[in-house]
């Protein structure tokens, strides 16, 4: 089934024409409503009238995460606050989170995109669908939720946590679909097995998995253990949230909702656009967004746009699986974590040397983060010479980390001089998950 054949199966010429019109409009809109973009365009001697077709997009400036951070909180918001009906926030590299405001129309387009995704997965009105992304500032929960309601399935807003209760609900309600991170799906499978809930007691048949990188092996394992078909769901809050792109039944790349989010793949060094099929940095321009439109936003995700038609009948372009990052961002339990965030916390703790090591692992299908820090010899004193005092220090550090990273990290205090000194490029992360 296809939710919106008019948009998902447009001819390429029509699509490019529509994209061109929308691009012109959005450039005009940000020019008049976002001083940041107006100044940028003026610096480049560009006016909205220079942008007529979608091919003109290459003239436009890029937007980076840093631009979003520097304009915290509302600097890039184009719509007046009275038109904004929701605000989401995602973690930033240091300090400031990224704030994204949505107008009523934005939420409606987001819901439409999510409905397209769910329909491609085979979800319909008869389904009972559990949303197990976190509800809150994170876009996953509410984003998926709106889509399920739009499709007309019954949404079970399970959110994350309390997995045993959730497992019982899946069995007792006959839940047929679930949206969550792939690692949570595995954790759920494990919890069910531990509780003695077997595959024939549950009716799950569709999984919408995203918010973190996953592999084909994980897909197989989740499908085997939960008895469902798992589909990729891609998105990022800076652009919208989940459903920027979605897999169809062919499961060969994810179709991009390109009437709303125009994709480019660029060489991250030269910033030149790359032809279809070549891997580079994924860049999005929001073509219809009112709240916080962005021009040529550099996602830092590495992937390729796939050439050729999809047998499913959709004509909107597909992107390959994400093959890595151009920065050092880690995705841990669906949450973006930058080593520099950890560094900023370490620097506030005078007891520790300015050195640290992040150890990321996946234990029992759940991502774990351990942060190792080095005790400064001069701060080890008579008040710190008991395990209780060291534990207290660890807890204080862990609390600070949690408030910055939004995830729990295990803290390990090491003796002075035991964390490798940086020589040139320092090793600050050991990722044992080997996902990519």
């Amino acid at each position: 089934m296809i939710w919106n054949p008019n948009k998902e199966c447009m001819s390429r010429e029509q699509m490019r024409e529509l994209q061109g019109k929308r691009l012109h409009k959005i450039v005009e809109y940000v020019y008049h409503n976002v001083p940041f973009y107006r100044h940028k365009l003026q610096e480049m001697d560009l006016s909205p009238s220079d942008i007529r077709t979608i091919d003109d997009i290459v003239k436009l400036p890029f937007t980076t995460k840093k631009d979003l951070r520097d304009n915290y909180p509302f600097g890039l918001q184009a719509a007046p606050q009275s038109e904004v009906i929701r605000i989401h926030a995602s973690s930033g590299t240091t300090g400031n989170p990224t704030i994204v405001g949505y107008t009523r129309k934005d939420i409606s387009i987001w819901s439409e995109c999510m409905a397209r995704s769910l329909t491609a997965y085979g979800v319909g009105r008869e389904d009972i669908f559990s949303v197990s992304y976190g509800y809150g500032l994170f876009t996953g929960g509410l984003g998926a939720h709106n889509g399920v309601e739009t499709v007309g399935a019954s949404v079970v807003p399970a959110s994350t946590g309390n997995t045993e209760k959730h497992a019982r609900l899946i069995r007792d309600l006959g839940v047929t679909g679930i949206a969550c991170t792939p690692s949570y799906a595995l954790y759920l499978a494990e919890t069910m097995e531990r509780m003695g809930i077997t595959r024939d007691q549950i009716k799950l048949r569709v999984g919408a998995f995203g918010a973190e990188p996953w592999t084909e092996n994980m897909r197989k394992e989740i499908q085997d253990r939960l008895g469902l078909k798992g589909y990729n769901l891609y998105g990022l809050s800076e652009i919208m949230g989940p459903s920027v792109s979605y897999e169809c039944e062919e499961q060969h790349g994810s179709h991009i909702n390109e009437d709303h989010f125009f994709p480019e793949v660029i060489d991250p060094v030269t910033l030149e656009p790359l032809p279809a099929g070549q891997t580079g940095e994924l860049v999005f321009t929001t073509l219809t967004k009112e709240g916080m439109p962005v021009l040529r936003y550099r996602t830092r995700d590495l992937c390729a746009l796939l050439p050729g038609d999809c047998p499913c009948g959709r004509t909107n372009v597909r992107m390959s699986a994400i093959q890595g990052r151009t920065d050092d961002m880690l995705i841990i339990r669906g949450i973006n974590v930058f080593p520099s965030q950890v560094e900023s916390v370490v620097l506030t703790m005078e007891e520790f040397a300015p050195r640290y090591l992040l150890v990321v692992d996946r234990i029992n299908n759940l991502d774990t983060l351990m942060v190792q820090v080095e005790l400064r010899p001069e701060y080890f004193n008579a008040t710190l010479d008991t395990p209780a005092a060291i534990d207290e220090l660890e807890k204080r550090f862990a609390d600070k980390l949690r408030s910055v990273l939004s995830i729990n990290a295990k803290v390990q205090i090491k003796a002075p001089g035991t964390i490798e000194r940086s020589q040139g490029k320092s090793v600050r992360v050991i990722d044992k998950r080997k996902l990519l």
Partner: protein, 140 residues
């Protein structure tokens, strides 16, 4: 009324204890008593020795995380119940013992401990006439 104790932060890894002992040996400082408070990831190595300030300086220079603290070293009777009798004085006064260990000095049992109420503990020592060791009591 108290004596100086060294506390050293050690990671649980073969060789870390040896490194510290070697440094103390090179400084020609004799350890009189010691204990390790162990946890899953690290230990706190506590030492009573001669010249604790010099030992501390030497260790610090070698980059070791070392601290000096004041602990009570109370003589107890060499009979069953010796430790119980000493501790009971503090318990009755409401003083908590944070950690404790013991050693023999010239055949006399010595209880080393830190309390959570230093001032009150001092009062107990005076009031109950307990014999406490000072730095001069330690053998050369």
């Amino acid at each position: 009324m108290t004596i100086r104790q060294l506390s050293i932060f050690l990671e649980n890894q073969a060789g870390t204890l040896q490194k510290v002992l070697e440094l103390i040996k090179q400084a020609h400082i004799q350890i009189i008593a010691c204990t390790i408070a162990d946890t899953a990831e690290y230990g706190i190595f506590r030492i009573i020795c001669r010249e604790p300030d010099r030992a501390c300086r030497e260790l610090k220079e070698a980059g070791v995380a070392v601290a000096i603290s004041d602990v009570f070293a109370v003589e107890m009777s060499n009979q069953p119940g010796g430790a119980a009798d000493v501790v009971s004085h503090f318990s009755e006064a409401g003083v908590g013992i944070t950690y404790m260990y013991a050693f023999l000095l010239d055949g006399r049992g010595i209880l080393v401990f830190r309390t959570n109420q230093e001032e009150l503990a001092r009062e107990v020592v005076t009031r109950c006439g307990l014999r406490v060791l000072s730095a001069d009591d330690l053998p050369l």
